[in-house]
Symmetry: C2
Subunit: 188 residues, 2 copies
DNA sequence: TAGGACGATGGCAGCGACTGACATAAGGTA
DNA sequence: TACCTTATGTCAGTCGCTGCCATCGTCCTA
């Protein structure tokens, strides 16, 4: 394959997704991914920091998306509701990526190293949410705790969104999970 | 050094802690750790799954400790309070390890790979707490959400326990963090 | 249109984490 | 003492990842 074909990064992501699905993350070498994408191992590492990162290309964009949504939320909203509003908007961030998300999550679930990276991205998301809350005037440790609560809600909603066969929309899943968290935390 | 010296595992942990502190995690090779402990690289990997795991030897014991405490909590307690009770008891699990905990946390904070492993251990803790709650009859997703809330509380309490110069006891830190989480989640 | 600047890729050498296979020595036991 | 088990050593090898330099497309400009 000649050089200079367009979208090398995208081809690498696609090849990695296929190979990780076909034979598993550990059983796939970076050289194989690069080869399927018509590139070399060296070039793979110019596009991605390591073998795991190729599955997490969208993390930064999601983080910026959520931080922006929190910043834009009406001042009248309580911190946790500003976060919830941002999370509800995620359905617009994942347009028709449900099948892709399923495949990706299936790969991650099968490998501990990938789960670690996934947790790291969520932690980074939490930090970004907390920072956005502080910019709204929320103090510490409220900002951090609210962000962590938001991430817990997001995890539950996302898992259901992936697993469910019937199409409940993401907004509703977020609202439900937040209500469940409230019920569990509140004094009886 | 002759073979068969006692506590090889402990010596490896000590050597790793020293070297990671002195020159950083990345700048330390496993061969160096093993050498300082009077052993070889191969033996290191018989005691620890990888270079990071040497800092997380206590994770399994803490997990079992917390699960046991949740199981032993009075049936009358709400799920979140059963978890809080377990977390409060952690001060008995860290007897006089405050200085050690500081040093260890300082190492982890300086390296992303170690943070990933730390998050993984906390996630594992959360799974164990959720399982213990299900054994108390708590359903889903309440069990998972309660466990996640507990971990968020634990993080805040632990961070303060490490950072604070004045000796507030762990029980009080846990209670305070839980109250703050409640305030942040509750409708206004 | 020739030439040069610049960015993306290839090729290669090398380090370090980690593993499998086999040898060897220490400690306990009959 | 002979044997067995277990902890350790030795060695070779794979793979993730990086630095360095060469090479090739593409675009810009004179």
């Amino acid at each position: 394959m000649a050089r200079w074909h367009p979208n090398a990064r995208g081809r690498l992501e696609q090849a990695a997704l296929e190979l990780y699905s076909e034979r598993g993350f550990e059983q796939t070498t970076v050289a194989e991914i690069a080869s399927r994408a018509g590139l070399t191992e060296r070039t793979f590492f110019r596009h991605f920091a390591d073998k795991r990162e190729v599955l997490f290309g969208g993390a930064r964009a999601l983080q910026e998306f959520l931080a922006k949504k929190v910043a834009e939320a009406p001042d009248s909203l309580a911190p946790i509701d500003a976060v919830a509003t941002a999370l509800e908007a995620v359905e617009f961030f994942f347009p028709e990526r449900r099948e892709y998300s399923r495949q990706r999550q299936s790969i991650i679930s099968a490998n501990a190293e990938l789960q670690e990276r996934d947790l790291m991205k969520l932690a980074s998301l939490s930090v970004a949410l907390a920072e956005a809350l502080r910019n709204r005037g929320v103090g510490d440790p409220a900002a951090g705790l609210t962000a962590e609560a938001g991430i817990a809600v997001f995890k539950v909603a996302y898992e259901r969104w992936i697993d469910e066969t019937n199409q409940r929309d993401f907004r509703q899943l977020v609202r439900t999970a937040l209500d469940e968290l409230r019920a569990v935390i509140t004094h009886q």
